[in-house]
Symmetry: none
Subunit: 213 residues, 4 copies
DNA sequence: CATGAATGAGGATTCATTCAT
DNA sequence: CATGAATGAATCCTCATTCAT
């Protein structure tokens, strides 16, 4: 049942050419946004001809959607695993720092900007990105919190809300100035301070009170 | 405090036609972003001819900047006054709810999306928006917290950080789904729940411990 | 028979407004050519509103034609009178120098450039200019030569040709480099040299041979 | 001696399409001048789409400059070789007639008009044209005269001036009426008359006087 | 008559897309 | 399949001209 086709090695879903195109397109789309990117520049960045773009992708929109799809997938998978040997406080700090680093690196920010910019005109792109990146990492974190509740280390009613609260607390003063280009990426020290404060706040609220049970 | 009109501007800086144009342009820009909006569509939306656009604004960029300027001003001024007769808890809840309502109304979201999308190419637009809307309301809130610290009702080291934390807590599960177009604007009830939780968390951390002195 | 009209002092052929417009238009047209000049800039240069332009002139073309008309007239009249008390040689030198000075002053050159540029599309403009400026001064000079032939000082078959020859000789190395913007206006000394040479050449050819009778 | 192609240029520097474009553009530019020509009309004249123009030329100005460059080159090379077997008088007549035929053919006149019109705004175009066409043919002629002076057939102080004088004499009554569109191209007979007269005048002045030396 | 705001046709230029090779 | 030349629709912007005041 293996395809015997001798001459057909073309627009596979995973040929080298295709990956080349995707790589070039990602660079250009993330730098200039959907409207600002031109197929010509993408072709140049990918090192292929303009025509070849259309061998692998129906049109600019399809190419863009695929890029954003992949971007969300790659950011999604790069999300966090919680190490069982760490205590809650340390886990929160590790997770928080990793989360902020992801959000505040130039490429992550470019992706967020690009997706948000287009969300009004291409809602599915926004949906997918949200599902894969935001909801996914939030989901993992939520499950971690639920385990801790089970284990009796934390006392939380709505773990989904709590997870969202913690990620937001970690962003505090860091994310918006960065995304509005007021400053460069925050230093590891500043990140640590903000994450520490977030952790304190989170535990002040949700750490299981001993002796209450 | 009147806008000093640094932009090129037309026959009359405040004529009906000009306002008409601004209104149409705001609609189109906020819906499609800078690149996605065309001067033709703006003219149609404003009910004027394309040429008239250029009587009042030097070019597309000037028009866009003016819109964003006005948008940031109007969102900035609509920010919050703290009522002295309310206690801290009530004040936080009122502020939090108002803040979320601002962030999660369709127009506010469009503005944020549009500004974030362009921040890389037009940093001043991002800066102004950040200053006027984010920094401004955060500043007011920070000063309120400082007063409460003075008054002994709250115990906070870094009031700026605390202010950011509270606004972020209020966003928790509300803002991102909304801005990525996963849902419509959150209901007042849902807002109240999240803000209540944020307030609890904030006070659990920062309420002055009685007797500690 | 004097017009008793009280309220009518309008778009006369010679009102102050009209002269104002003509003056501004001349400046702009001569500087930028027909296509390069805009009615807006003309209005600004004339210190009137754009609408007023159309009170006095049907359209841009009419205005342009009138300017060129006047320009040709003014250059035509400024042409040369021959002083009877001077001998032929001196007369030729005076005429030649004046002619070159006219041709090689920035305004004269602008006019010639402007007219030549448009001659293909607006032949009448070219015709009028030629008639008024070139043919007219050539005509005067031709008649002067005819008088000299009558008087026996010169021996010329075709005085019209001879007149053209002299004016061309005076241009020699001066006119083209100037009109192609290779140099600024020639110095009076350089003009004198070239005109002297032209005069020598002219007289070597056309001075009546004494004794031949 | 091949043009070094300093301009931006398309896929192929010498493709049929490119030549097609150049041909159409030359027609339109020479007929309407730089401002009067529209890229749309050029595209139509060339039988290509507007977009194709920009595949081969960066912008209207580049296209125009290339046309003028080529035009000046082609007029420049078509300039005159002096045949040693002819005597001076015959050489002058041959040269003069060829020179006038060049100047007074419709295409040459269009080029001159077009270049002169734009010389104020695009001086390099004027310079190149002057160098290639005027200075070049004048230079060749000047050198011819210098040889004759060496050979003792002519007696000239300033051969450059003399060369300019002869070319001007040949224009006499022919060039200006033609360039101002008063008449069509002059007939060969009329050219011969004027050139003969010019030659007589030139030799009357500059032929070496026998026995003087 | 004088104004200048308003117009809309037209200009240069860009770019997603197609197609013959 | 890969190419890149060719396209033409669409974009931003200008400007001659009109017209209500």
């Amino acid at each position: 049942m293996v395809a015997p086709a001798v001459h057909h090695s073309g627009p596979d879903d995973d040929s080298a050419k295709r990956r080349q195109i995707v790589k070039g397109a990602r660079t250009v789309f993330l730098e200039h946004g959907f409207d600002g990117a031109s197929m010509g520049e993408i072709a140049r960045a990918a090192g292929v001809s303009k025509g070849t773009l259309y061998v692998y992708f129906a049109d600019k929109t399809s190419l863009f959607c695929e890029i954003m799809e992949q971007e969300s997938l790659s950011q999604g998978v790069s999300a966090f695993e919680f190490v069982p040997t760490l205590d809650v406080e340390a886990s929160l700090k590790v997770f928080g720092a990793a989360y902020i680093k992801l959000l505040c690196d130039p490429r992550g920010a470019s992706a967020i900007r690009t997706v948000m910019a287009i969300a009004e005109r291409m809602p599915e792109v926004g949906h997918h990105y949200y599902e894969r990146v935001i909801a996914n990492s939030l989901g993992k974190f939520t499950r971690y919190l639920e385990q801790q509740v089970q284990a009796g280390t934390l006392q939380i009613d709505d773990c989904h809300l709590a997870a969202a609260q913690f990620t937001k607390l970690c962003q505090a003063t860091l994310f918006l100035p960065f995304i509005f280009q007021m400053t460069g990426a925050p230093s590891p020290e500043r990140i640590a301070e903000v994450v520490d404060s977030a952790t304190r706040m989170f535990l002040a609220t949700y750490r299981a009170k001993p002796g209450i049970n």
